[in-house]
Amino acid sequence: MMDCRRKAQISRAILVLSTVVTGSMALVIFLFLFRFSLPLFSSGSLGKFLSKNWDPDAGAFGVYPMIAGSACIASLAMVLAAPLGVALAVFMELYAGSRFSRFLRYFVELMSGIPTVVYGFSALFILVPLVRNTFRYGSGFCVLSASLVLALLVIPTVSLITMDRIREVPRDFVLAAGSLGASRLETLLRVQLPYAWRGVISAVVLGGGRALGDTIIALMLAGNAVSVPSSLLDSARTLTAHIALVSAADYESLSFKAIFLCGLVLFLFSMFSIVFLRVVERLKE
């Protein structure tokens, strides 16, 4: 029979192994993406890949329109989702009452669990015709449609994290502010949110990461035109949709390497988001 010390050693080894495997996956993926897009860097043709022109038949592999498409769609989604998500968290915390707040939270949690394809599919039949008929411009498959649905997708992430951060503010602070004549709204605005601001920023950055990384909604609703959008009603293609759409069987082809470059750009964005979050969390009061 194994003694306790032996069991503890085995448990520790399993935990260390799990940590190493999980932690190294991100590194492995980065190296993988870097390895396959390396020829673009070493051949000096990186500039060509960051150009506006994507036409594989003509040997043009510029992914700039996709970077711009991703940036536009994710930014607009976050401009909508960040204030709405924070406002929803404030409403649930302050005004909804405990029962309604619990019900709303369940509902928001449910929203965050719905597969994105369901959002996309619903928007295809409801939002896209609405945008088309309202603005009488284009097909309705555009930056606006994709951003609106992405915002809906991201709001639960922002509001749930924000609400949790607000609730983590020590009860003593809330009582102290209340005892000094602050209303619940004043307590929230002057004490709880300033105390929890790092958490709110984390929520927004994580939401932004989700908006940027989502594939299916952009694929279904943005129109997938390979051009830099000049208005919200223009079609656009995101990096994720581009990776899904481009079919390249030849590992040595430039199309294939360009896809890896798209993946690398997305990876770097995620990495910078995490670094940004860490910096924000370490900022002093």
Binding site: A176, A177, S179, L180, G181, A182, V191, E285
Partner: protein, 230 residues
């Protein structure tokens, strides 16, 4: 006991307080005369702090807490009112006039200056007025000289005794009519405790004070009336 026709400022009648199903105060009757210092004594856990929080309805902020009975208060420009019947929208105003200092100094996560200025900013006081009141309040609690060069430092960097005096200053800056004090000298050394006691003796000439204290000698020195809970 019903409130006598005399010079009462606070009259608590048949007060029961529950946290969920647990009753922490049962049939409490207390009367505090205007411009006097009333002491509440009793063993730990008998509900003294809860009693103070019931008077300015801060108890409403504690989930599951419920108070029954009557807490009648006479504020200067209004008729006597039962604070337990006040609507939620009137509570901030009530709490500005019935200041409460907690047993454990619970400074807000902001600078020394902003802690004292907090209630004044909420009351939309002007900048000059805020600066004057902050300085006066800190001087009253004998803290000004210790913190005047550190007004912009986080309040949590002060010592326990300094934080306790800061919390008292914060409430005094509001200019309350009634002051509820929960062990106001528990973190102070003897010298500072005596200073605060002197301040309370001065304050009770102007305002009504209800204080919880464990120190019998302090109660004997300060109290005009003593009630025992539990």
């Amino acid at each position: 006991m019903s409130a006598s026709a005399g010079n009462w400022k606070i009259a608590v009648e048949n007060l029961d307080v529950f946290y969920g199903t647990r009753q922490v105060l049962k049939n409490v009757n207390v009367e505090a005369a205007e411009k006097s210092l009333t002491c509440i004594v009793g063993p730990s856990g008998c509900g003294k702090s809860t009693f103070l929080m019931a008077i300015n309805r801060l108890i409403d902020e504690i989930p599951g807490a419920k108070a029954k009975g009557k807490i009648r208060v006479k504020l200067n420009d209004s008729h006597p009112m039962d604070v337990l019947k006040l609507g939620d929208d009137r509570l901030p105003q009530l709490r500005r006039r019935i200041g409460l200092v907690f047993q454990n100094p619970n400074v807000l996560p902001m600078s020394v200056f902003n802690n004292v200025a907090f209630p004044l900013k909420i009351m939309r006081a002007r900048k000059k007025e805020i600066e004057e009141k902050v300085e006066n309040a800190l001087k009253k609690v004998s803290l000004w000289e210790e913190v005047r060069s550190r007004l912009n430092y986080p309040a949590r960097e002060l010592s326990g005794g300094q934080q306790q005096r800061l919390c008292l200053a914060r409430v005094l800056a509001m200019g309350p009519e009634i002051l509820l004090l929960d062990e106001p000298t528990s973190f102070l050394d003897e010298r500072l405790a005596i200073k605060i006691e002197s301040l309370l003796m001065e304050l009770k000439k102007e305002i009504t004070i209800v204080m919880v204290s464990h120190y019998l000698s302090q109660v004997n020195r300060l109290a005009d009336r003593v009630y025992r809970l539990g």
